[in-house]
Symmetry: C3
Subunit: 307 residues, 3 copies
Amino acid sequence: MIQEFKLLKQLCEVHAPSGREVAMKDFLLRYIAKESKKWKVKPEVYHGEEFQDCIVLKFGKPRTAIFAHMDSIGFTVRYFNQLLPIGSPDADAGTVLVGEDSLGAIECVLEFDKDNHAFYSFGRQIDRGTELTYKVNFRDSKMYIQSAYLDDRLGIYNALKVAETLKDGVIVFTCWEEHGGGSVPYLAKFIYEQWQVRQALISDITWVSDGVEPGKGVAISMRDRNIPRRSFVDRIIAIARKRQVDFQLEVEGMGSSDGRELQVSPYPFDWCFVGAPESGPHTPDERVHKHDIRTMIELYQWLMKDL
Amino acid sequence: MIQEFKLLKQLCEVHAPSGREVAMKDFLLRYIAKESKKWKVKPEVYHGEEFQDCIVLKFGKPRTAIFAHMDSIGFTVRYFNQLLPIGSPDADAGTVLVGEDSLGAIECVLEFDKDNHAFYSFGRQIDRGTELTYKVNFRDSKMYIQSAYLDDRLGIYNALKVAETLKDGVIVFTCWEEHGGGSVPYLAKFIYEQWQVRQALISDITWVSDGVEPGKGVAISMRDRNIPRRSFVDRIIAIARKRQVDFQLEVEGMGSSDGRELQVSPYPFDWCFVGAPESGPHTPDERVHKHDIRTMIELYQWLMKDL
Amino acid sequence: MIQEFKLLKQLCEVHAPSGREVAMKDFLLRYIAKESKKWKVKPEVYHGEEFQDCIVLKFGKPRTAIFAHMDSIGFTVRYFNQLLPIGSPDADAGTVLVGEDSLGAIECVLEFDKDNHAFYSFGRQIDRGTELTYKVNFRDSKMYIQSAYLDDRLGIYNALKVAETLKDGVIVFTCWEEHGGGSVPYLAKFIYEQWQVRQALISDITWVSDGVEPGKGVAISMRDRNIPRRSFVDRIIAIARKRQVDFQLEVEGMGSSDGRELQVSPYPFDWCFVGAPESGPHTPDERVHKHDIRTMIELYQWLMKDL
């Protein structure tokens, strides 16, 4: 059991808040260089300054792309002991935050003043602009995985699992998803212009809600704040039914993903968010049911074949 | 009189909420195939998967494009009997909503709970993700047209009337305008790259306000939430004056249109919103004065010649 | 002393609210035509309808672009004596506003009603859509420059000073920055496609705050509402240190710039906001310390060499 999610634990422990995804890029490039030899198809790997800290993998003759974001929420050190949010963190006072500045490693404590402004408590001043993330406590129980940053290390994990047997497709690892985006537009341009790919699956984590329960299977999101083209969503639902994968339909009015940027890009992308639901989003204690992880991987394997 | 606005009535009755514009695409493709034989110039028609559910018509040597959006506001069925808005509907409890799901046709009633959340009242559960729109009651009186969805079926109607005598120009039918956009960027790219067109008229419906009255002529909008380039707006006003078309100048701080997406696209589009004003926007009872419809068509005919 | 900032005074006095930047374009084209003969390298000048009211200067073999916006905040005349904001003006009742309409020059007074709606007081009605800006009172004291519109005429001034000795680089004068943007996407496309430039410096004015003081040197902004790629910001900080230019690090959670549009464009731009801090932003009395202006120019000169 430990073995099954070892890679997921490693991914969760990488420090990669929005804007500073470089450690995740390095981890993934090393992992792909080593593991891709065992994959059914060895992908072409695209990265470098023209991709900032993003990575694109191309397998065979692609028709569909998987998007998984590398960045996480966190905090930036402002002046004095003030903290600014990166994305939308949701943590209680007392949460342990980690990072590094010119004086070395940091392990400090999140606090809030009476106006609910975040600040840190630490034995010394931290350099301006230092990025802090949750200290990761990865918990692997019989039915659940619980950890900070399952959003979206589980989306990356899913993509890497699908990569093992993928024949035709693109996998895109993106940046800045938690904080306003910015990499998806040029990545969309690249894969559309190179291979005319304009079908996308957003490999990301959604929420347990009054209509989506843990353990009932991967969620296919019919809409969130954005509305994808219905005919594309219907094709995905039809494949899930035909292949008898356990899934749930999600319908939300809030929340967003890399799909938003595909929608408004100058390329005619169809997209659909397909991912496991979690409780405790953006807290240090995000929790996902293992059945939902396994059905997520299974559904992606079929979708990359059938779409 | 019935004859003059028969097409408008048909357009209003098409079910095409944002994300599910396919019925409008099919209606328009059939209409264009049949009617364009009688037009002064038979346009080239562009559609298909590279255009999602959008349509582009190209006449002669185009310099200017007309943008009219196909989608309407509405509701998506969430869990239980909950409804989420598509765009910004404005309807009272008791409004009749229509749609279709796996069990067949739906005609249900909009209600609100004490927290003002929308829900439906119907004899059975409706499938998750089902899109509902207002039941259309089209009223044609001596001076006014009143119906749901004049926004923007009247913009489409205007474009189709202008098409009858158009020599040079592009007509673009877009999607998702009411809900965050997403088709205009790639459509702008297409018409700019194909024909170097970068002048655009937004054929859409605006509001009766303290400065814009029904029956006083088509509105030329100098700004809304967005501010178009003043020199382009001035050229449009000059043409309206020279051609002696009855018009009103609009100046607003709110509201948006397909023009916003042209403004922020990576192509140097000039745009101006030119459309009839309505009362009751986004309600089932939008009302437009016929003089404003007729001057809208007349001004577009001149603008497509003179710009 | 008067001589040093004479050009800055002239720039502040140009009427160029967002959407009507044409007077600034004309001023700059005249200035560049005349002065560029004395510059170390005479740039190629790009402008015209494909650039709307923007201007691009290309020097030598560029690697980095300077972005400075031409537009300012202001007001649009709505109906009766109502005013709508252009961008986010911050002015008290009694502020003098200037502009011009079909009846001639205007010098009117800003007022607010009890609901805080802006209106004008003037001896006659002003044409709908007329743009009004602050009457400029340029003050040059021993240590400070104070004037309306240092944001961003000082950013333009900086770019023109750097132009005098620039060997390799691009300077871009943009529109609409104060009101939703719209020119940066196509300008980014142009310089990326023409010269593969994807490094950008935002030559704009920031705020004096609890962490950034007047007179302590130019601010290098590590983030605002948007978060640039950390590795690019680190290179800029390293150059400032190596070249021993007096600078301050800024870390903010709000505010935005042309950098935002570069970030979300379909081109892989790295960007960083580098500019002098001011007190009284968007008021008629913006004030900047001269040491911060001089270190801004000095740092840009090094950055354009070293990046």
